[in-house]
């Protein structure tokens, strides 16, 4: 079942399904492409940003970006 | 106040310093503002999305 990254509360491994939204170029350019593995590491003190591991490196995303990323377990 | 060698040097230094400060804080800013920076990124520059 596909959910948005913004809704994931606990760490875990996911598969990127789709990137949607009005300004997604930079997310794609950073390597968040459909079919790639994405690991949710943790959330910052007030819930966002969320820290993920993608293609072997760590990235921090705000809620607005996390909402653009559809993932699947 | 008598005008001796030391007084001369002291006033010479003052003159140099005044020229330096005018150049630094008056002339250079004026010159800079004239050559308008065309690569400047301000509110109207949309390179910030």
């Amino acid at each position: 079942m596909a959910v948005f990254l913004s809704e994931i509360k606990s760490p875990g491994l996911f598969l990127v399904k789709n990137i949607q939204g009005s300004d997604t170029t930079r997310l794609l350019e950073m390597g968040i492409t459909p079919g790639i593995k994405l690991e949710v590491i943790r959330r910052a003190p007030l819930g966002f940003p969320v820290e993920i591991k993608i293609r072997g490196y760590l990235l921090s995303l705000r809620e607005s970006e996390a909402k653009c990323i559809e993932v699947e377990e | 106040m008598e005008f001796d060698f030391q007084t001369g040097v002291a006033f010479g230094m003052l003159a140099i310093v005044l020229v330096y400060l005018t150049n630094r804080f008056v002339l250079t800013p004026i010159r800079r503002s004239k050559t308008s920076p065309d690569h400047n990124c301000g509110p109207d520059c949309k390179c910030e999305h």
């Binding site: 390597g31 | 040097v9 804080f25 690569h39 400047n40 390179c47 999305h49």
Partner: protein
């Protein structure tokens, strides 16, 4: 193989080791300049490779040529030769982080489309190896079609290998569009190039396909940096091109990126392999603690507290030494040189003024040392991650943390560093509140006031009341910045949440030579830039304080009754001279305005001169007090302040209330010409610096007024 001198550009993602390679190649043959009209630093140097002197340019870090921020645009523009003073590079060295190959190669495939020779540097080989990643450079080279060299920039012999490879380079231009755009994207590019880019813009031929791709992805041209005609035609052609892509089943925003990543995947899947590790890496283990929900903010606060306590206490012995040196030096000159005006000017103007500057060098060096260490280790990004939630609440941005922290050193680099904030509104709010951060120029004033008027009681064993006051002043600045940002967030229309995509680089031991070099550079800039102005102003001040020459009326017992109020029996001739000098008269004029804040005319002079730079205040007081002092032994400024008495009342001039009021005034007032100048340059209008000056100074006056009135009535 080339024997011609070349222009070689280093390009790559941030934190891949470009600067390290640049330094290794150029050694000391480098200079830092600014790009015309903007304040981004450009590093250019020369290097002898294979007996030929080449020019090396270090470009700002970029993730993509489809720029989203100024740094990236500069890298792009330099590569396509759009700057008049800089020709198109003859060779682009794309520096990539081997431990993070895929994302790094994205930029590499873009640079390969620019029609210039490319060489790929797989840097950080040692790091990749440690992560269990092994890469075959030859296979990468084959599939990309560019020469590849794997190095570790920290290793001297690897740099020699790199040089060797450069001198052997045949400077072949890589095959364009090797990543293989699909037919509809190709068609769309050709349409855009032929119908608009080629006839109506001055984009260099080699850069046309990259620009076409950029426009198709963006869908609009936002104030393009190049010249163009027929804007309407441009817009409609971009629209047509995007429609072509959509007809082919692609998404104009994604097609190019996905094709490139497919191509990269093919290249790396057979050329690199990873022996998977199960145990958490060091970075993961550290992050589990420092980015923890509760521990993270606590650690961040402790880091700051430790930093400022250390700056204050570790620097003290050095400062005392410097102080002593200048006092002794002054005495020596005073006694060696024949008496006269030059003697006075040197001792009371130049040496006293200079001493007032140099004394703060230790603190500045410590501060920048810490900042560069935090940056070099990768902790700064964690601080931004941990703080972003809090920062967005008050209208700032996680990325504001680093500029704001740089603001502790100096508002100017901090304001320049706001360029990493992509959203204009976030950026302007950060700029507007940044000068509240206690910059190092305030240190002198804080340090002097604290040393003179706050007792050094020890608290909790390791902290002193002085250290805590010092820390408190920094916190005060932060709180004011937050409040101001909160108010501004209400004033400026709220946009939607802005993108915040930030890499958290792996922790590294900072390269100490770079840390020391950068720290020394800051110190040098402080001494030469601030120092020049301060000494100049000290000289002017000395003249203002020494003229017009007035003789104190000679005292006799008989005409004791005839003295007017401006003359006091206990006053010495120097003080009398100062009060009647130009400076004294001017200070007297503004005295009524600043009196409610607890300031006298001497501080008034200091406030005026400190507009040149805040630390000038101390130099000014130094000058005023050394002039005022009776001939004989010099004592330190601190002692003079404590002992200064008002000749009319006999009370000490400085009460604790005055000291606190003055520190608050310095914490809040916009007293720095350079900051105003830089804000003007960064925002390209006088509106923002004017607003900044007015609101900060008003706030300072009000706060000091309240503080002094409360303090002196307690």
């Amino acid at each position: 193989m080339s024997k011609e001198p070349l222009t070689i550009a280093l390009v790559g993602n941030p934190n891949t080791g470009k600067s390290t390679i640049f330094n290794a190649l150029t050694g000391l043959r480098q200079k830092i300049a600014n790009y015309p009209g903007i304040t981004v630093e450009q590093k250019v140097g020369t290097s002898i490779i294979g007996g030929v002197l080449h020019k090396i340019i270090d470009l700002p870090g970029a993730y993509s040529l489809n720029y989203k921020k100024l740094d990236e645009r500069i890298a792009y523009e330099t590569l396509i030769g759009s700057y008049e003073h800089e020709e198109i590079p003859d060779l682009a060295l794309v520096v990539v982080d081997s431990s993070n190959l895929d994302r790094n190669l994205y930029l590499a495939t873009q640079v390969m489309d620019l029609g210039i020779p490319v060489m790929l540097i797989l840097n950080m080989s040692d790091v990749a190896k440690g992560k269990g990643i092994s890469i075959n450079p030859d296979l990468i080279s084959n599939s990309l079609g560019v020469p590849v060299v794997a190095i570790s920039a920290k290793n001297k012999s690897d740099i020699d290998q790199l040089k060797q490879k450069i001198s052997e380079s045949d400077l072949e231009v890589p095959e364009p569009l090797k990543w293989g755009p699909d037919d509809s994207l190709k068609e769309a590019m050709n349409l855009l190039i032929n119908e608009w880019i080629k006839p109506y813009t001055n984009i260099p031929e080699s850069a046309r396909s990259i620009e076409a791709l950029r426009l198709i992805s963006e869908g609009e041209f936002n104030n393009a940096f190049y010249q163009f005609e027929k804007e309407e035609k441009g817009k409609s052609t971009i629209k047509k091109a995007r429609e072509l892509v959509e007809k082919g089943g692609g998404n104009p925003m994604a097609t190019e990126v996905l094709s490139r990543y497919n191509f990269i995947g093919e290249c790396t899947s057979n050329a690199s392999s990873i022996t998977s590790q199960t145990k958490a890496s060091l970075t993961d283990r550290i992050d589990a603690v420092v980015t923890h929900k509760v521990a993270g903010p606590v650690i961040f606060t402790l880091v700051l507290l430790f930093m400022f306590q250390a700056i204050f206490s570790w620097a003290t012995p050095f400062m005392d030494m410097i102080d002593l040196l200048f006092v002794e030096g002054g005495n020596w000159v005073a006694n060696t040189l024949p008496e006269g005006m030059l003697n006075d000017l040197l001792v009371d103007g130049v040496i006293a003024g200079l001493g007032g500057v140099v004394i703060f060098l230790p603190q500045i060096l410590f501060l920048f040392f810490f900042i560069y260490v935090l940056e070099g280790t990768g902790y700064m990004a964690r601080a931004a991650f941990v703080m972003d939630g809090f920062m967005t609440k008050v209208g700032l941005h996680g990325r504001s943390v680093v500029p704001l922290m740089s603001g502790f050193a100096c508002a100017i680099p901090g304001i320049m560093a706001t360029r990493t904030i992509e959203n204009w509104r976030d950026r302007i709010i950060t700029i507007m509140v940044l000068p509240f951060m206690a910059c190092s120029a305030r240190l002198p004033v804080y340090a002097l006031m604290i040393a003179a008027f706050i007792p050094s009681t020890t608290i909790l064993g390791i902290f002193t009341l002085q250290g805590i006051t010092f820390f408190g002043l920094y916190i005060f600045g932060i709180v004011m910045a937050v409040l101001a940002a909160f108010v501004m967030k209400r004033i400026f229309p709220t946009g939607q949440q802005t993108p915040f995509i930030m890499e958290l680089p792996a922790y590294k031991m900072p390269k100490w030579s770079v840390v020391f070099q950068n720290t020394a550079e800051r110190g040098k800039v402080f001494i030469t830039e601030a120092g020049k102005i301060i000494v100049a102003i000290s000289i002017v001040l000395w003249f203002l304080a020494s003229f017009p020459k007035t003789e104190m009326p000679v005292l006799t017992q008989t005409d004791n009754t005839e003295y007017n109020s401006s003359f006091d029996v206990t006053e010495n001739p120097e003080s009398y001279q100062l009060r009647h000098s130009f400076a004294g008269q001017f200070g007297k004029i503004i005295e009524p305005v600043i009196e409610p804040l607890g300031f006298d005319w001497k501080i008034g002079i200091g406030l005026i001169t400190s507009f040149a730079a805040r630390e000038v205040m101390v130099g000014t007081l130094n000058t005023i007090y050394s002039i005022e002092e009776e001939d004989g032994e010099s004592s330190t400024l601190k002692e003079k302040l404590i002992n200064d008495v008002n000749p009319e009342t006999g009370q000490p001039v400085y009460s604790i209330a005055t000291a606190i009021s003055l520190m608050i005034f310095f914490a809040l007032a916009m007293q720095c010409m350079s900051t105003i100048a830089i804000v003007k340059r960064e925002t390209n209008s006088w509106k923002w610096p004017t607003a900044m000056f007015v609101y900060m100074t008003a706030l300072a006056y009000l706060s000091s007024f309240i503080a002094f009135q409360i303090g002196s009535n307690l």
